[in-house]
Symmetry: C2
Subunit: 229 residues, 2 copies
DNA sequence: TTGACTTTGTGTCAATATGACACTTATCAT
DNA sequence: ATGATAAGTGTCATATTGACACAAAGTCAA
């Protein structure tokens, strides 16, 4: 029995909101479009989903094609289906977001985009399509997720100081935190452990370097713990 | 300039995980399919998204067509895009979940389904497609959301006793809660207010009836409060 | 009407968690 | 040596949590 003729079919895209941290500022990766519509304007990395790949595979592929980013940790954000979100025709888009350590990733424009670059989250160019909506939702999600799950480590180098971690929380949550209370809470979780190393080449007392104990995290998560910070 | 010819297009569906509470048990609304594939088997309500409606509109429409449920509280859950999730062809599905007051809603099978009925969440028939995956994710989401947002009220009648509310939390979170501590916490939020009415026709001391203060909730939400219970 | 039954409704206390708060230490640059 | 900069550290008062048990209210049946 065949049904093909009766299904409505929609063009399906993915869009990727990529966050990074640099010198304490939250950054957003954008690409400059080299095709119509919105040619020359800045937008989220993304593109059409092929019929032989999942949306997640499509997001990873487009990300690599347009920015050179590989193997990033992506989470699905939301599916946007407003009728007029693409001027060409009805296009439904599955949005993903990711946190990357800027230090680990070289970013470059490739053939699919005129340019790819990091921007300040609160000072970036006007975005094509409904991409500002998508970024807004990703920011909300990022804040909420950071509050309840230890994801900040994805944005920092493998070894980091507690001040860097605190700064990250302050930037994302848009609050000022007390240093002593922050350290107390973070260390109490047991998820952040001293590496024994210290900072190098700083013009002041060198800070201890810590790392995230992923094994312990997996174990606690299985046991159903909570991780508010 | 026209691009239509170059877009891959996928069949797009919605699926709805509908939760209800009845006599303290968490229930799931399922429909019995009257079309191939999986004809005669139980599945989530859902169907194809038309090109002139958003996915949310499609979910509400299918829900009404298949079960008679109207104006339910729907939230987007996740988009499922595994290549083999539909035996006919590549179909991507946007899943929603909903909470309904069983007391407010008559459920009936309509022309689009052979039957529609409530089942115990942990004792329901085997589901068609990948719908068990979707239900599992919806249950996880329900638990997490209930912990941080006051959504339990969507499942109860407008006026409810604190024992009913506590029972709902116990059933969904699969824990036993202390009555006095639960009442203290719930009342402290100020979101649950006495109506002045009491239970009728019960063979024991009648409980006070409370209701959810939606206005206060909207206000507190704007002010950025948290609502853990 | 009395007693049995069922569920409601309530307070305390100890332990823990939180939030506010300031100074000394280490390191580098001059 | 001195100054500049950021690291690192403890206390205390208050708020929150979790554990815990019994009297009051209402219905029903004998």
């Amino acid at each position: 029995m065949s049904f093909e003729y009766e299904f409505p079919r929609a063009a399906l895209t993915v869009d990727c909101v990529i966050f990074g941290i640099d010198e304490g500022d939250l950054k957003l990766m954008l690409i400059q479009r080299n095709l119509e519509p919105f040619k020359g304007e800045w937008a989220l990395a993304g593109g059409f989903v092929r019929l032989d790949e999942t949306t997640e595979e499509a997001a990873l592929r487009e990300l690599e094609e347009e920015t050179g980013l590989k193997k990033v940790f992506l989470e699905q954000l939301y599916t946007f289906s407003a009728l007029n979100r693409d001027p060409r025709e009805r296009v439904v888009s599955v949005a993903y977001y990711a946190l990357v350590r800027m230090s680990d990733h070289q970013v470059f424009a490739s053939t699919d985009a005129d340019d790819a670059a990091w921007f300040e989250v609160d000072a970036h160019p006007k975005l094509a399509f409904d991409h500002q909506n998508i970024v807004d939702m990703a920011l909300d999600r990022l804040k909420n997720t950071l509050r309840y799950r230890p994801i900040g480590f994805e944005l920092l180098p493998k070894k980091f100081t507690l001040s860097e971690l605190q700064h990250l929380y302050e930037v994302i949550l848009e609050t000022k935190l007390d240093k002593r209370n922050f350290r107390r809470r973070v260390l109490k979780t047991g998820l952040v452990v001293e590496t024994g190393d210290v900072q190098k080449d700083v013009a002041h007392r060198a800070a201890q370097l810590f790392s995230f104990d992923k094994k312990r995290y997996e174990k606690l998560k299985r046991d159903g713990f909570n991780f508010e910070v």
